[in-house]
Symmetry: C2
Subunit: 406 residues, 2 copies
């Protein structure tokens, strides 16, 4: 184990010169403790969005290679400013782009995957006792083309660097204090979790928790790199994400999550014969659409209805694909319902405890909330309900499972 | 000679998405004529200034390495957007940073010098019939550190690429239509020059003409690369800058230039003995200050006054250096005068014609304009006068030498 800590600061943490100076002070307070620091930074506040707006003013369908050339400048600006802010406080720091620091990716522009990291340059600068600041979210392919890593890419950069440098910790600084039992804006009694397993975090991320992206957690899980999520605006402890911990075995339900960004698509009057569902979802997958929950009604007349959920962002494209599928199969009309929400409970202990699902359905019934779709996994149960009842449902479930108590 | 044309577009030409699209159309109109195009672009409008403002909010004395990391993003944004705009019009284009395209410089951050250009990548893309778009003003040193080339750096990039690629022309697109006999805002009758020699252009640049920087002209002269300066907003012909052309031999005075950005610094009561001036200007040079004109009064009492001009931008630093020098030498008070202007006439024919200087002094006298300092070179004569009389002087001189007539 090295003496290296990798820290990642998100866009809101470095939104303006004042906050950049604040982050610089925080970094130095760690440096004073004698650790070697590698700091990964996102673009300032809305920079990436503003650059994409510029691109869309020039072209309605800009090339992905040129998008990467354009938006990778956002993180380059952040790292240079942060290095300047650290210098001003009298400490040595040096900033790097992803390409300079040897983050080699494949050539899938705007969603590249890291192939390897040549950390020689970082190690050399650390040996000279410099604080190394690395542009998150970006790398370069083998032809030195600039690439970006897609959503949550800076977290991925941090975890990948922690792996290569054998860092003793990977800390993700953000605008919340850690992972909560529920969104504190919905459930004021929500409690910050001390520890969460990789699997729980993966479920929570895919069920609506916005703090970490799944790719970053998957990478951390694969190489067993503990992540600490904490606030860049306070000194509180945060949440540790690591392997399933012993002391967590008694915990049944860890958190309630809510996703309001999915719609329900229904295809009516499908012939009820084997292979129909397979054919439909093959056509939809070919359009690059990720389907989440799927429910098929019981057939009464030789015809059946099929519903599924998918991100509302791509709804127009999803509907086109579903209509194409229905036509090919000889099905009926296709409709979409945006007014749904998916409420989920997540917890590693769940699989070995009976009655958890019943408890969830029961409390929803008591609150007169109708369940429209259900899906379960090893460590989660999700229900689709009306969107306007979502907050009431989250609060009731949080209380039912006493999540406010440690 | 290749079939390559290098074009450079300045910041005002690509100030916003609409202008970027306009430049894209212009580029394509050349592409259609079958030439291979390498396009050098500056940062959008005020981008560089805005980035420097951010830097100054973070640190009052930011490191030059980090300034280069920061401001090099400006051109990277431009090239990506221009490539997108060209794609939209249905043509192939690809953008590059200075580092990607093999522009190797020394390590003098913020004012690096180009050592060599490895143009293999550009040639490969041109062979694939792509329009190659290169970020101006930047390069990378041998350790892949990002560097910038200083003021007018994008022009330098264009001329250097024209040299390496053996381009058949190097066109500098700007917001004026070419090089004029005087600033048209001051002299409405000013005439656009068809041709100007490198030496005249160098004199004009150092005497106040703002269109091209001296470094770019020096490079073009050294490798005999003709430059065409023209407007990106019109289709008019522009001005050709090349070796002293035959048909120019009869021309005596080519242009009048004006520089209002210098101040006069006077050191009083210096001991009048050999070596004093040398010592003073050695001290001033050590502070990195470029002195322009120097005048020393005739000694009457064993003491003498010495005046020189230098850029008003660095006046505080220049005054500090001059005071230090005066103290070391046993001189008297140092004072500065910002209310001066330098008016110059430039022309290759001048050296072989008598009476030119007399004509200039005479017309100033007729206009009751007092001359405070005079300096002459092979192809120019400069007079320091009161700033408030500068425009009157330029108009009178322009008329005196009949510059409005070809």
């Amino acid at each position: 184990m090295s003496n290296i800590i990798v820290q990642k600061y998100g866009g809101t943490s470095v939104a303006d010169p004042k906050r950049i100076s604040g982050v610089a002070k925080r970094i130095i307070s760690y440096r004073r403790k004698g650790v070697d620091l590698v700091v990964v930074v996102s673009a300032l506040g809305d920079t990436t969005d503003n650059l994409l707006k510029l691109a869309n003013q020039v072209s309605y369908l800009p090339s992905e290679r040129e998008i990467d050339m354009l938006i990778s400048t956002g993180e380059q600006i952040s790292v240079a400013l942060l290095a300047m802010a650290i210098h001003k406080l009298g400490y040595e720091a040096i900033s790097f782009t992803g390409a300079q620091v040897g983050i080699i990716t494949d050539s899938s522009h705007t969603q590249a995957r890291i192939i390897r990291i040549n950390a020689a340059r970082i190690k050399r600068e650390l040996a000279e006792k410099k604080i190394v600041i690395v542009a998150g979210f970006q790398g370069a392919d083998l032809s030195r083309e600039i690439t970006t890593l897609g959503r949550g890419g800076s977290d991925l950069t941090a975890v990948a660097l922690a792996k290569v440098l054998k860092a003793k910790a990977c800390e993700i600084y953000t605008d919340v204090e850690g992972i909560y039992t529920a969104d504190p804006r919905i459930v004021p009694a929500a409690r910050k979790l001390e520890m969460v397993s990789y699997d729980e975090m993966l479920e929570m991320a895919s069920r609506g928790a916005q703090v970490l992206q799944t790719r970053c957690v998957e990478l951390a899980k694969r190489f067993n790199i503990p992540i600490i999520v904490r606030s860049s605006f306070s000194s509180k402890g945060g949440t540790m994400i690591s392997k399933e911990a012993k002391k967590m075995e008694k915990v049944v339900v860890s958190a309630v999550t809510l996703n309001k960004n999915e719609s329900k698509i229904t295809i009516r009057d499908l012939p009820d014969r084997p292979g129909v569902a397979a054919k439909i979802f093959k056509i939809i997958a070919q359009e690059g659409i990720n389907v989440d929950m799927i429910v098929q009604n019981i057939s009464r007349t030789g015809y059946t209805d099929l519903s599924f959920t998918a991100a509302t962002d791509n709804l127009a494209r999803t509907l086109r694909a579903a209509r194409k599928a229905s036509e090919e199969i000889g099905g009926g009309t296709v409709s979409a319902d945006r007014d749904i929400a998916k409420v989920s409970i997540v917890g590693v202990g769940m699989k070995s405890h009976s009655g958890i699902a019943a408890g969830m359905f029961d409390i929803l019934a008591k609150n007169k909330i109708n369940i429209e779709m259900i899906s379960t996994s090893e460590i989660s149960i999700s229900c689709v309900i009306r969107k306007r009842l979502a907050q009431r449902a989250v609060r009731a479930i949080h209380k039912q499972f006493k999540l406010e108590k440690p």
